[in-house]
């Protein structure tokens, strides 16, 4: 019951911090627009004056898709680079933003404005960068070690398979294990960040080590709470698809579809804050 109460508190906190959702969405949107712009100009050069552009409105058709792929095949390595490098910058940007997100969640009574948000962002950037670097080691251990071990076990099962069933089940289970392992690592370092903010500390290694005991003592409760918010994220995904898929992509509905897509992106930002809000309240509840 305490977990549900914590969840409720986190939910309320998140809804009081909607301004941050707008910040995050704007940052994501602008960053994405910057990436898409060159691609837009590339296709704008050829497509708008071709009748093919009318066919695009009717849906995905391999005739025009094939044309685009064929036309820009030489640009593929450059495009991959173009998508990869900004992603790395975006990751760094998020390390920066986490300070603002958690800092403003922790400043319960204060109003949110851009100055206070950015001030928290800069205050925690370097400690959070260290947390990120430590988390990379953890990812390496979990995915390089534990997951490889689990994979090897699944491979043994697959090797002796007489039908496709073990292959199907093992690939689903393996994926599930991967997701759960990821959620554990992710949750663990969320709490490290929350601890740093609550304790107004910059000692990332110390916070990580203390967090081992903290999470160790109440692992299942913390994980349950984390998965609960994860479930909400998944539900939003399902709702998005259920509405977007049957929506005709023509005329004004094209714009409606675009707005719906942006609402889904906003929902992702909202759940991101919900993760931290619930974790913050859980941490405060069990603080030693």
């Amino acid at each position: 019951m305490k977990i549900l109460k914590t969840f409720e508190k986190g939910f309320q906190t998140t809804n009081k911090r909607l301004k941050m959702v707008v910040y995050l969405w704007l940052i994501n949107f602008i960053f994405s627009v910057l990436i898409v712009t060159p691609v837009y100009f590339l296709i704008k050069k050829d497509l708008p004056r071709s009748l093919i552009s009318d066919q695009i409105l009717k849906g995905t058709e391999l005739l025009w898709l094939g044309d685009i792929i064929y036309k820009y095949q030489d640009l593929l390595p450059a495009l991959v680079g173009w998508f990869l490098v900004p992603a790395i910058f975006f990751m760094l940007l998020y390390i920066f933003l986490y300070g603002g997100i958690i800092g403003r969640i922790a400043a319960q009574d204060e109003k949110i404005n851009l100055t206070s948000f950015l001030s928290d962002c800069s205050k925690y950037f370097f400690p959070f960068l260290r947390v990120f670097l430590i988390s990379l080691v953890a990812y390496l251990v979990v995915f390089g070690g534990i997951h490889s071990l689990i994979s090897a076990l699944f491979n043994l099962w697959k090797k002796s398979a007489s039908t496709e069933w073990p292959l199907i089940l093992s690939s689903i289970l393996e994926f599930l294990v991967l997701v759960l392992l990821f959620s554990i690592v992710r949750m663990f370092f969320d709490y490290v960040r929350v601890r740093l903010v609550v304790e107004k500390s910059k000692k990332a290694i110390r916070a990580t080590l203390i967090n081992l005991t903290f999470i160790g003592k109440r692992f299942f409760r913390a994980w349950f709470l984390y998965l609960l918010v994860g479930l909400i994220t998944a539900v939003f995904g399902v709702i998005y698809l259920a509405v977007y898929q049957p929506l005709p992509k023509i005329g004004v509905l094209l714009i409606v579809g675009f707005i719906w897509q942006q609402m889904y992106v906003v929902s992702r930002m909202w759940t991101k804050i919900l993760f931290y809000s619930t974790e913050y309240h859980f941490f405060n509840l069990h603080k030693e």
Partner: protein, 704 residues
């Protein structure tokens, strides 16, 4: 070798005359010039085949034949010196090639080879490697010398014994646990070509097979609990209680290969294709009209359909049969009736890597446990592999040298049958083996769209007619002989019309049934049936690497000026027209009801090297804002040409090839050009991409 005695020849002649009548003797050769009787026993403990083989080979050429060449395909998996494995290593540095783990090699040993009179030919036995580049360690072609030549019309009778180690989970023919798919397993003579000698290539990575039509009687002995399927018709099953085995005998004439499968888990289901229930009289009449044949000639026979399916795919039995029924129906109606009594469809045993392969009267399909009905799999593979019964099975081209003749024509045919039977299918995208089309609507497409989208990438690599193992790489082989050849055939269909195309393929099929046609035979049929010389079409698109790309480079409309400035001689005196006077005159004109006229200039270009020839032209359509159209034909020889139109409206757009005949065109985007751009399509693509990037960035951020 046993020579026929003259009186026996006479007796045989009289007997034949009395049974089949003189007509057959006047112009027709016997279809099968080889007769096999094979006894093979499956050793399930050691994954071995123990075989005896009697071969009767008739020399139906005018040559004296000194030797005989055999395919020993299993030796492709004997060691890393085989041509197949060597070629596989050359392909992407072996990354995607055949990798055989230790203890999984396969091979065939001919332990004895004699003539029927007891003459031992084994001392003359040698392995031949003649294909370039040479792989000297290859042992997939064997030659023996006859003590004296086989004269024209004579038969050679050979008796062989062989032992084969079945390879594990490798390529087409293999075993996994106690499931077997056995193909290319027995020593098989090549094809003797008059004046040229034996056509008997090594087993190449990128090629399939070639053999003479033959009569097969095969006795297969397997442990009693095995379910067996094979080429031809099962005529006997004799159990041996003591050995706990069963010997199945299969017989089929007029086929050129024999494959079989054995698996204790197979579920065997038999159903009948009853022509009268499958095809209505209206359908017969329609097809007869299109083919310009009497209805009686397009009528189909009944066929026994046999399915051997793995228990985990049991729920897909109806799906398999429906696809097969559709294939028998449409291949039969369009290209000619299926001439055999049975067709066996095998759901390939797990991990035998034998799926999607054709053998006469038997083929392997391929499915998975989780399949969406929107994705046409296994349907596509069933239709394709059954179709090979026509293109390869009956029109038995040399797949080593001209693979497009069966793969290309059959890919085209498969697309036509799939389209009429099912419509478009959803993209086969899965996540963790779960079909995504269960959860969301995936784009749907017709086969020809995918084929064209992939084919355009390999146009400049190799001609379609390249010898199988001489393509730039496996991708070029696959895309050229399947996708590009099919795309070119769709283009040919666009050019000559759908009904004419049906008549071409029907004529080709029926004329070359039980024969070995070549590319030139196909071209001859095209020219004959259409009554046009379309050889250029093949020169440009099949024998060359020329890119086909016509397009519009500019379209512009401007008002036609009635008045121009300058000094003019009018009625013997000089008069100057100035801008001011023009304006005045135009003002006057506006008062009258004179229509404005516009001059539209359209420039068309031949971007690619390939060009249309003969009396074929490229059609140019210009649509104007008042809804009117102008359609003109361009010979298409020049690199570019300007067309001018004078109309009371501005152009809306210009389009070359408005009927989409030239599917082979590598850039359909430039086939049309609007005078004014429209951004709706771009908005859609860009917003979709934006949304993808937004989510991609969020995922990247999740790692931090």
């Amino acid at each position: 070798m046993k020579k026929k005695k003259p009186y026996l020849k006479f007796l045989f002649f009289m007997l034949t005359l009395s049974f089949i009548g003189p007509a057959a003797l006047l112009g027709e050769k016997r279809i099968s010039n080889v007769r096999y009787e094979i006894w093979v026993e499956l050793d399930d403990q050691n994954q071995m085949l123990h075989g005896k083989e009697n071969i009767t080979w008739l020399n139906n050429t005018r040559d004296d034949v000194q030797d005989m060449w055999f395919h020993l395909y299993y030796n492709a998996f004997k060691n890393e010196q085989s041509t197949t494995i060597q070629e596989s290593k050359e392909e992407w540095f072996g990354a995607f090639g055949i990798k055989i783990k230790e203890g999984r090699w396969g091979c065939v040993d001919v332990t004895s080879i004699k003539l029927a009179d007891g003459t031992d030919l084994k001392p003359t036995m040698e392995f031949i490697t003649q294909d370039k580049p040479v792989h000297p360690g290859d042992q997939t072609v064997m030659r023996v010398l006859f003590p004296e030549p086989v004269k024209p019309g004579e038969e050679a009778h050979l008796q062989l014994e062989f032992e084969s180690k079945i390879p594990r989970s490798i390529h087409r023919s293999s075993y996994y646990q106690n499931s077997y798919f056995i193909a290319q397993w027995f020593p098989k003579p090549g094809v003797y070509e008059e004046g040229k000698g034996w056509n008997c290539h090594e087993y190449h990575l990128n090629s399939e097979f070639y053999a003479d039509f033959a009569e097969f009687t095969v006795h297969i002995t397997v442990p009693e609990d095995f379910v067996v399927g094979a080429s031809g018709k099962q005529i006997k099953a004799v159990p041996d209680m003591e050995k706990k085995t069963v010997t199945y005998t299969f017989y089929q004439d007029n086929i050129h290969d024999f494959a079989w499968t054995a698996d204790p888990d197979f579920i065997k289901v038999e159903r009948d294709f009853i022509a009268d229930e499958e095809v209505s009289l209206e359908e017969y009449e329609e097809v007869a009209r299109m083919l310009q044949l009497p209805v009686e000639e397009v009528k189909l026979p009944d066929v026994k359909m046999i399915l051997l399916i793995e228990p985990e795919h049991k729920s897909q039995i109806d799906r398999h049969f429906k696809a097969l029924r559709m294939a028998i129906k449409y291949y039969g109606l369009w290209y000619g009736p299926y001439p055999y009594e049975t067709v066996t469809m095998v759901d390939p045993p797990f991990r035998t890597r034998s799926g999607g392969m054709e053998y006469p009267t038997l083929f392997t399909a391929g499915t998975g446990i989780l399949r969406s009905k929107k994705v046409l799999s296994p349907e596509g593979v069933i239709i394709h592999e059954f179709g090979h019964g026509y293109w390869y099975g009956l029109c038995a081209n040399n797949e080593f040298e001209e693979a497009w003749l069966d793969e290309g024509i059959n890919t085209y045919s498969e697309g036509k049958v799939t389209a009429i039977a099912y419509g478009p299918g959803a993209m086969p995208i899965s996540f963790q083996r779960i079909p995504l089309s269960w959860f969301c609507k995936l784009p749907e497409y017709y086969n020809y769209e995918l084929e064209r989208a992939t084919a355009i990438h390999v146009v400049e690599l190799d001609p379609i007619t390249t010898i199988s193992w001489k393509f730039y790489n496996r991708g070029s082989y696959g895309l050229n002989v399947y996708a590009r050849a099919s795309t070119c055939l769709y283009t040919l269909e666009g050019l000559v019309g759908e009904e004419m195309m049906l008549r071409i393929l029907r004529t080709f099929q029926m004329r070359f049934r039980y024969k070995h046609p070549q590319t030139q035979d196909f071209i001859d049929v095209v020219n004959e049936v259409t009554g046009k010389d379309l050889s250029w079409f093949f020169e440009e698109l099949f024998f060359s690497t020329l890119n086909f790309d016509y397009g519009i480079s500019s379209v512009a409309s401007k008002e036609k000026k009635k008045y121009v400035r300058g000094v003019f001689d009018v009625d013997g005196r000089r008069e100057e027209i100035t801008s001011k006077s023009i304006k005045k005159m135009e003002k006057e004109d506006k008062k009258s009801d004179d229509k404005k006229f516009y001059v539209t200039e359209v420039k068309v270009r031949r971007f690619g090297e390939a060009r249309v020839r003969g009396d074929t032209t490229m059609k140019l359509k210009v649509v104007f804002e008042d809804g009117s159209e102008e359609v003109i034909d361009w010979r298409g020889q020049e690199r570019w040409k300007k067309f001018t139109f004078e109309k009371p409206a501005k152009a809306e757009y210009a389009q070359i090839d408005p009927d989409n005949i030239w599917l082979v065109d590598s850039n359909l985007t430039n086939n049309s050009l609007k005078r004014k751009p429209s951004r709706k399509g771009i908005f859609k693509v860009t917003t979709q991409l934006l949304f993808l990037i937004q989510n991609y960035l969020q995922c990247a951020a999740s790692i931090t």
